[in-house]
């Protein structure tokens, strides 16, 4: 049951991304090209998503448990560290370079394009390099 809900959530998320136009890298770059010919569409995607999710979060944060009476797993909201700033900056540059962020890239894999496949493999490698290489080196350094 819960796995089915996760699957439907992923499907709905993906269909939303396709319908909104965000799986087209040219459209995403059109949004980031603020000083050229700007396509504000992405802002409406975020507006639409937040308009729905805002009330969901208000409601669940009062209720404090899921519909199955299980605890929530929500991250902290206020801790700002250098990693947050540097990481987000690195992500932004990569986002502008190809016009893909993680969600749309995974959805676009289904289009059967080799270019998307290259991007996704590199993205998984980037995740691996951070989680398994950088983070482990940093943690070891931290313990000394």
């Amino acid at each position: 049951m819960k796995n089915l809900i996760s699957l439907i959530s992923g499907l709905t998320f993906g269909i939303g991304l396709i319908l909104s136009g965000m799986t087209d890298p040219a459209k995403v770059i059109g949004f980031l090209d603020l000083f050229g010919k700007w396509d504000p569409s992405l802002m409406l995607v975020m507006l639409g998503a937040i308009a729905v999710a805002f009330f969901g979060f208000r409601w669940i944060e009062v209720k404090k448990v899921t519909f199955f009476n299980e605890p929530l797993h929500l991250p902290g909201k206020s801790h700002i560290n250098p990693e947050l700033i540097i990481g987000s900056f690195i992500f932004g540059v990569g986002w502008a370079l190809a016009g893909f962020c993680p969600g749309p890239a995974l959805v676009a894999l289904g289009y059967g394009s080799n270019q998307v496949l290259i991007f996704v493999i590199a993205m998984l490698l980037g995740i691996f390099l951070h989680d398994q290489v950088y983070k482990k080196l940093f943690d070891r350094h931290d313990q000394h």
């Binding site: 959530s9 998320f13 087209d24 770059i29 979060f57 990693e83 993680p102 995974l106």
Partner: protein, 147 residues
């Protein structure tokens, strides 16, 4: 700044956005989880996790994303799709997106949608930075270097 009206799709984008919001709420209400794609991918790639639930819901969610274009194509024609980046740029972009989202603990979905909906200061800062970095990088790539 000059709005390119001929490619602006306010209705489709807003409606698509509300679907993304619904998907987020579904995962939140039934799993108590944030629909952050980079976080889900990162957790899936970790080893040493014994509880099956660590992987299961994440694998099903990602499967949904991967299958969504197929389901969409049954009912409608998939929209236009243009990649201007060459393979070298795609590799570099992928590495930066993977590394950066993990270092910054989130991407457009986790920070930009979930975090902003929760009025999280942390996500507000992250979203402001990746959007600004994207706009500046885009300006440099398109208008200064010309790639």
């Amino acid at each position: 700044m000059q709005i390119q009206w001929e490619v602006f799709t306010p209705i489709h984008s807003f409606f698509g956005g509300t679907l993304i919001g619904l998907a987020t709420v579904l995962l939140l209400f039934f799993k108590g989880r944030i629909a952050g794609i980079s976080g889900i991918l990162g957790a899936l790639m970790q080893s040493h996790h014994t509880p099956a639930d660590h992987y299961q819901w994440r694998a099903f969610f990602i499967m949904g994303l991967l299958l969504s274009s197929f389901i969409y194509s049954i009912f409608a024609v998939l929209p236009r799709f243009t990649i201007q980046a060459n393979w070298l740029m795609l590799i570099l972009a992928g590495l930066l997106v993977g590394f950066g989202t993990r270092m910054g603990s989130g991407c457009t979905s986790g920070h930009g949608i979930c975090g902003l909906s929760r009025l999280s200061t942390r996500s507000f800062v992250a979203t402001l930075i990746f959007m600004s970095a994207g706009v500046i990088a885009c300006f440099i790539f398109l208008h200064l270097i010309g790639i």
